[in-house]
Amino acid sequence: MSAITRDEVAHLARLSRLALDEEELDHFAAQLDQIVGAVARVAEVAAGDIPPSSHALPLTNVFRPDEIRPSLTPDQALSGAPAVEEDRFRVPRILGEEA
């Protein structure tokens, strides 16, 4: 049985916002099946009561004084934007036609 199906890969591509074509889906489905099969080996480790580590070192929240400091100008912040209008990022429509 495969670890991951082609339909699942198509679903993952949608969740990942990757517009893959049919050929890519076939290719990635075979490869991801092999990779998922290999990484599933982590299940062999008896780790039931072991606490998970999201980081190697203990993390503490870091605060800085709430002071106004120099930051990017609007021109700098917009300098890499694909499209700009009136000092703002111009983006394609984000709501459906009915909205």
Partner: protein, 496 residues
């Protein structure tokens, strides 16, 4: 002797004493780049004019009597995953082609403050995902020992630049071995500092709990000088360690292992290891004993699961981090013809802008994090991560450092593993545990494999903030082996 053959420490002294100018040194390296980079393709971007201007500025400050740091005026090649306000930053991806960041990474800023002269930006696997630079959208870099072979990855442009004498120093980032593996396969020194010891601010994120900036050099002392120059606490990185930088330069000068307890990791041998790699490693173990170290075998049983745990944790973090490439604020935008929605434009842009390995990892991470699979994959991998840290802790109760080969094999031919992801992932077998535990680890050359005459690396691992131990042992091995070889291993590389 040509200026490009000198060490960074020597160049720093020559420049400080005004025996040569920083401008001459920069020009010599720019000439070398012009001569050999057509074959090596270490660089994605070279800025000769800006490099010469930086060098002249250092010369002027020295002429005025200013006392600068030990690397002032020394040229460096900078991995193209650190933002640079005056140069393009691509992360090896089409999605960032031509992007000019509006700010410098902390590592970039500190290189400038130390007076280092940035020659240009080096090639890498796209978003630092890979072990060969073949995943770069701009084509692979080549190993100076054999141009048909990989220079390692992801920081393969940086390793190739230093091994080809295009720069005495370079920067890298190490998430699963991306500094140590390229250093090993090109016969140079590469160090992954303790996680949090060097700032991630302005480093384009791949896996934030693992990514660690570190140095490449042709010798251990130079690597220590560079690590010291860009390390230390940074308020702009919430995971930056607020502690002094370990005494790495002093340790590199100490170069002595007498009385040190060294552990050989039992699990890093056997199937999949090239005989010539194991032969050079075993000889180095004997050498360390002859230098007065006490060597014992230690077992870290969970290390056998480090690779699968890493390939769940790193892709999970990558799938989240790379969500920022949304075609809205910077980078590529494809298909925005007025009819398509933002979501469609996003999906078209990401499909066009990311290469296959990045897509694989984003989807793998999305899978590992999705409901129904989270506990079995990401959750379980995080538990394995805890056990790997515990294996290290138990080992460091018995010994001061651990050693292993850096990589199971020498540099493989370009193309051999390009479309076989699992085979490619095996290149990081020995380096991944140190990333998962946040520990320090270095790779130093330990000889050439008999089968192919290519470099083999020795990995030295030390506990969190034990970076100085890596340098101390690395320098001792380097000194003894250079005496045996009559010079650095790299001097045996064929002329380009």
């Amino acid at each position: 002797m040509s200026l490009t053959r000198k060490t960074a420490a020597e160049l720093g002294e020559l420049i400080a004493s005004r025996e040569v100018s920083a401008e001459q040194v920069a020009q010599a390296h720019l000439d070398r780049i012009a001569e050999v980079d057509g074959k090596v393709t270490a660089f994605l971007h070279v800025d000769a004019e800006r490099a010469l201007a930086q060098a002249r500025a250092v010369d002027e400050r020295i002429a005025k009597g200013e006392r600068l740091g030990p690397l002032a005026g020394v040229p460096i090649a900078h991995k193209d995953v650190f933002t640079t306000a005056d140069m393009p930053t691509t992360a090896g991806s089409k999605i960032l082609e031509g992007w000019r960041p509006p700010y410098d990474a902390t590592v970039t800023r500190r290189l400038r403050e130390a007076g280092l002269v940035i020659l240009g930006k080096t090639n890498l696997d796209e978003f630092a995902m890979g072990s060969s630079t073949e995943n770069s959208a701009y084509g692979p870099s080549h190993n100076p020992w054999d141009l048909t072979r990989i220079p390692g990855g992801s920081s393969g442009g940086s390793s190739a630049a230093v091994a080809a004498y295009e720069a005495p120093l370079s920067t890298g980032t190490d998430t699963g071995g991306s500094i140590r593996q390229p250093a090993a396969v090109t016969g140079i020194v590469g160090m992954k500092p303790t996680y949090g010891g060097s700032s991630r601010y302005g480093l384009i994120a791949f896996a934030s709990s693992l990514d660690t900036p570190g140095p490449f050099a042709r010798n251990v002392l130079d690597a220590a000088l560079l690590q010291e120059a860009f390390s230390g606490h940074d308020q702009l990185d919430s995971t930056s360690i607020d502690a002094p930088v370990p005494p790495v330069v002093e340790a590199a000068r100490q170069a002595d292992v007498a009385g040190l307890r060294i552990g050989v990791v039992k699990e890093f041998a056997g199937d999949g290891y090239q005989p010539g790699v194991l032969a050079r490693f075993n000889e180095t173990v004997e050498l360390l004993e002859s230098l007065g170290a006490k060597v014992v075998e230690v077992s870290c049983p969970t290390f056998a699961y480090a690779l699968p745990a890493y390939y769940l944790i790193a892709p999970s973090e990558c799938s989240s981090n790379l969500a920022r490439f949304d075609a809205m604020r910077y980078g590529l935008r494809v298909g925005d013809d007025g009819t398509r929605s933002a979501e469609e434009v996003m999906a078209l842009t990401r499909a066009a802008g990311f290469g296959p390995e990045v897509k694989r990892r984003i989807m793998l991470g999305t899978y590992a994090l999705s409901s129904g699979y989270y506990d079995a994959y990401y959750g379980q991998a995080q538990k394995v991560r805890t056990l790997i840290s515990r294996d290290f802790e138990a080992a460091y109760h018995q010994v001061d450092v651990l050693i292993s080969p850096t990589t199971p094999t020498t540099a493989f031919p370009i193309g051999e593993r390009a479309d076989d992801p699992m085979a490619m992932y095996l290149a990081d077998l020995c380096t991944i545990p140190s990333n998962l535990a946040g520990n320090a680890a270095i790779s130093v050359p330990c000889g050439l494999a008999d089968e192919d005459g290519l470099p083999v690396g020795l990995q030295i691992m030390a506990p969190v903030l034990g970076d100085d131990r890596c340098y101390r042992v690395g320098a001792a091995v380097e000194k003894a082996l250079n005496d045996r070889w009559g010079g650095p291993l790299l001097s045996q590389a064929p002329a380009l």
